[in-house]
Symmetry: C2
Subunit: 387 residues, 2 copies
Amino acid sequence: MRVQYQLIHQDKNTGARYGKLIFADKDGNTQEYETPMFMPVGTQATVKTLSPEQVKATNPGIILANTYHLWLRPGEDVVEKAGGLHAFMNWHGPILTDSGGYQVFSLAHNKKKDITEEGVHFKSELDGSKLFLTPEKSIEIQNKLDSDIAMSFDECPPATADKRYLKNSIERTLRWAERGKKAHQNENQSLFGIVQGGPYEDLRKWSAEETVKLGFDGYAVGGVANDDEEKDAMYKAVEYSVPYLPEDKVRYLMGVGEPVDLVECVKRGIDIFDCVSPTRLARHGNALIKGVKIDPKTGDKKENRINLKNARFTEDFTPLENNCDCYTCKNYTKAYLHHLVKCDEAFGKTLLSIHNIRFLIRLTEKMREAIKNDRYQEFVDEFFGDE
Amino acid sequence: MRVQYQLIHQDKNTGARYGKLIFADKDGNTQEYETPMFMPVGTQATVKTLSPEQVKATNPGIILANTYHLWLRPGEDVVEKAGGLHAFMNWHGPILTDSGGYQVFSLAHNKKKDITEEGVHFKSELDGSKLFLTPEKSIEIQNKLDSDIAMSFDECPPATADKRYLKNSIERTLRWAERGKKAHQNENQSLFGIVQGGPYEDLRKWSAEETVKLGFDGYAVGGVANDDEEKDAMYKAVEYSVPYLPEDKVRYLMGVGEPVDLVECVKRGIDIFDCVSPTRLARHGNALIKGVKIDPKTGDKKENRINLKNARFTEDFTPLENNCDCYTCKNYTKAYLHHLVKCDEAFGKTLLSIHNIRFLIRLTEKMREAIKNDRYQEFVDEFFGDE
């Protein structure tokens, strides 16, 4: 399916946008989903520990899959022969695939890679075999996976890169974006461009403007989901990028999924988000809960969560959150979750993943209501008032 | 709920029985399930890797939970405070708990235990702490767990035990059964007795007759699910025990779940079975499939299965079994399962567990049809004809 964004209402007092993503296939069948949206991640063609029905019950829109991982296993040709990713993994809602760029830069064997104008040489994390990913190859893989949204292949420079490096990197990423766009051949798939530029206002502006000139179906802000960076740097990068993106295209902040970041970045005009954190936190026994915590080291506002391994939940026969409508909260107590986590039972990870994903999606649902009623700033104040 | 067995039809040419288990609670609410029946195992108050809804979709009757495991974690008092096992684990069908005896004898720390007339002293497999399980304690735990069927606490002697040892063991197990019966206080729970006797015809007969004299709601044949034993010994133990069990009580063969064994033992008059094998096989990437294999070492007939890790499934876009009605076979290919197993994704274990459990339950459904039509022997011949 190809996607179009429709801006329905912009909050009167902030940059927050309420809108719709309308997906249409070649036969004219459509699916509509509201934004702001949080997209669960199904790295290897499965949202970890969940069935598609369990994912569906969290009321998501798009889900993600990872080009890099699927290129390595099972290979894009296997997925193509299976009839594409939707048929392969039994997910009939929209799918966005990333470009593989982020994984090449973060997961390559020994983190060693050789970036040339042509593409990136690196070794497989799985078996050390030599691999070469180019903008054309990334798009070709995504074409074969047959996701609904493909991402341009970009360089993800390290947070430590200096301005001179970043400038060269952006220029190359723009040339790669153009090459990818030329290579793109799947008429049933949209293609998004990615804005880079690190922490520099002028580079973000330039990257955004040049990327928009190339013309994509949507735009992502990249290079912000770096653990080393402070939150303020992320918000600034968004502020420096968003003003130069067209109103009638969706804006995607890649790899960001902390509740506080969703709240702050929607305020700055972002529409969609993805992150592995809700399922990763779940696999380590954590549940997201209402409220905000202050990081004692950085002073940053962080997500609030509880770890179910804690003995204080042994006889806690209440749900994770009293007012949560998720399957986990409607049917299970903290005492049962504590038991499952202590015993390392798979179903504990499943139940916590369901809650954490639903937690983020509920948050976006509340944002939509606030924006529609021009009270997004009040929503933000209330959200941070829960500290 | 308490259970009653109703024999509806016995196959004209074999000992195979088609019947019903009718569960009734104090308020007169009833649930009915047909036999022969395979009971999935939820050792730690969860059928591994599955939600209750996923278990339910395999069309089971009773599920099992393990007294020993739940005694250690989270403890029977926690489960009681949660409102019993049904509420704790969100399973509203019938639950059978074993007595903990088998686990004490197989899982105790270093396999060391001290069996006295009073009970068994042993150390926890988890932390080495000293534990003492008695017939009264086993029943007390099961009363608090509030399962629908509790099992008597028995000694599970090793397959190598001599006849003199077995005779003493049976006598003690009978005294334990009587003590357990006296200790039993949950009016909403049935209590089953267990026949032991190893491979000896006279001991099995004696154990069965004396256990029946004590009077239980159902009877189990124990001490047969021993990996060291040959299949023929298992079938003989069943043949030596069943004739002395009352017609109007259900007969349960403990710990047995290979398809060939279900087929052979239903022929000999067994009604219900349990085994961890379908979920354990699944977690190792195996799927049960139609047919029978011959063990090259023992000549025994064994289950037929495929391992999804095998590279030959990389591009196999057919389901595990073409005519299987399970969720996995209706929605996923072997290529997808191969991918999930290769990537060690939890959802692969879930999908294979669903198939394997449904495989055994479908087998019992076919048996019921055959018995109702007095063609059980033909069913057996056809089953083994699939070699």
